[in-house]
């Protein structure tokens, strides 16, 4: 692993700096991956989780609920139907949160570039912190990826989750393009952005206007029984 670069440390009050560093140090050593197999790359996760490649050595564990998870691991292609669920899940995760896109499909469509059913570029819909190449990446590659994510977190460099708030309009626009203008989620992203003080130039825009116009009180989930 690379040595930690000192100059990257943030400036400011020495007390808060120490606190931040401690915070990041601890956070990087206890990461929970959301247990959601979105695509075929998920088949290499059980080896990573279990004794052979054992990611618990890095302090990384699977977690079943999004609320407690730190890492959203997108394991390959996301079909449009899954992407809706992934968006719901991502927005529910508490900040700071990290997205890892593994396999080719998350980068540029992968094998399914001709397919009408899969999303092609993950970073159009949510900010991605790390990509791991492969189709699918071997467990060792996933471990290497996790290690570099941990390093980035320790260095305070992995802050892409803030982009979702700062550029919410862009992400929402892409989501609307796929899901239609009626698309809405139970999470009030704009409210959260205001709350965290993460309102950027791209938070509001034409797409958030559409959202606010069409936003309906949420109905109970419709069952088709």
């Amino acid at each position: 692993m690379k040595e930690i670069k000192v100059e990257n440390r943030r400036e400011g009050n020495i007390l808060s700096r120490v606190f931040d560093e401690l915070n990041e140090f601890c956070r990087a050593r206890s990461l929970f991956i959301l247990h959601y197999c979105t695509g075929c790359g998920a088949i290499e996760l059980p080896p990573v989780m279990t004794s052979r490649f054992d990611m618990e050595r890095l302090g990384v564990q699977p977690m079943v609920t999004p609320r407690q998870a730190d890492i959203l691991l997108i394991t390959g292609y996301v079909s449009i139907k899954t992407l809706k669920r992934v968006m719901l899940t991502y927005e529910q995760m508490g900040s700071p949160k990290y997205v890892i896109g593994i396999c080719s499909c998350t980068v540029n469509g992968g094998m399914y570039w001709q397919s009408y059913a899969t999303a092609k570029k993950l970073d159009e819909y949510m900010p991605v912190d790390l990509y791991i190449a492969g189709c699918m990446p071997r467990p060792e590659a996933i471990i290497s990826g996790l290690r570099s994510l941990i390093r980035n977190i320790e260095l305070g460099e992995s802050n892409n989750w803030k982009k979702y708030y700062e550029n919410y309009d862009y992400y929402l626009g892409n989501q609307q393009k796929l899901f239609g203008d009626e698309w809405q989620t139970p999470v009030d992203v704009i409210g959260e952005a205001e709350h965290y003080g993460l309102v950027g130039e791209g938070t509001y825009g034409e797409h958030t206007e559409i959202l606010q116009r069409v936003q309906q009180p949420l109905k109970p989930l419709e069952m088709r029984l």
Partner: protein, 224 residues
């Protein structure tokens, strides 16, 4: 019923049900192809299930013969006693695209018919469930129909990475760069490059000059 009895039975079936044609596969002795008119299918299935023990519906496959304006439905039936497969082929018109369900005879048909309805838009009367299963978020035409151009759909709805790594910038500065982008290969467009390679040249399923050869300028004809 043993195998020889079955063969005799199958050979005789066209006397009982008009229009049934039986072709045994010469490659695999366990495959039997049957072609029959669409209205005789249920009659036929009742006979093979009831008399010849073909209780297992392996699959129903739909083939879109768009040029003929027909869907071909292939019912693959298996007999656990005879270890024989019958593929019953029928054709139904693409328009309006409806047929009758065989769910009452074979329960697995429920899934396959639902799938075909979803992917091809072929409606099965009498099926217990014709709701969407896989494509619940899909509003376009049934995607497996041949007229649906998936590449065009993708091109309209998605964008691709625009890579510009350092090595590429250097090559561009030297006068090089991407000459045949993968996009061109993909969408079979024709591009002339400075290498004189017309992309049409390099794709087996590419262009058509004959259409060009039987064209005359419309401008000229218009002015005539």
């Amino acid at each position: 019923m043993n195998l020889s009895q079955f063969e005799a039975w199958l050979a005789d079936i066209d006397h009982r049900i008009a229009g049934v044609e039986v072709t045994a596969s010469n490659l695999n002795k366990r495959r039997n192809r049957v072609d029959l008119p669409a209205d005789k299918l249920v009659l036929f299935l009742e006979a093979v299930k009831g008399e010849a023990s073909f209780v297992h519906l392996s699959a129903i496959s739909c083939v879109d013969w768009i040029d003929d304006g027909e869907f071909e439905l292939v019912y693959h039936l298996w007999s656990y006693e005879l270890n024989q497969l019958i593929s019953a082929h029928i054709r139904v018109s693409r328009d309006p695209g409806e047929y009758q369900s065989i769910y009452d005879l074979y329960r697995p048909a429920g899934f396959f018919e639902r799938d075909i309805h979803e992917m091809y838009g072929l409606y099965f009367h009498g099926a217990p469930d014709m709701e969407k299963f896989i494509l619940t978020e899909w509003n376009g035409i049934p995607p497996m129909r041949k007229e649906f151009d998936s590449e065009e759909f993708v091109e309209q709805n998605f964008s691709w990475q625009e890579y510009n790594p350092e090595w590429l910038k250097e090559l561009v500065a030297e006068g090089g760069g991407v000459v045949i982008p993968c996009e061109e290969q993909r969408f079979s467009r024709s591009v002339a490059t400075d290498h004189g390679i017309d992309q049409q040249h390099s794709n087996w399923s590419g262009c058509d000059v004959s259409s060009k050869l039987c064209r005359i300028d419309s401008k000229y004809r218009g002015g005539d």
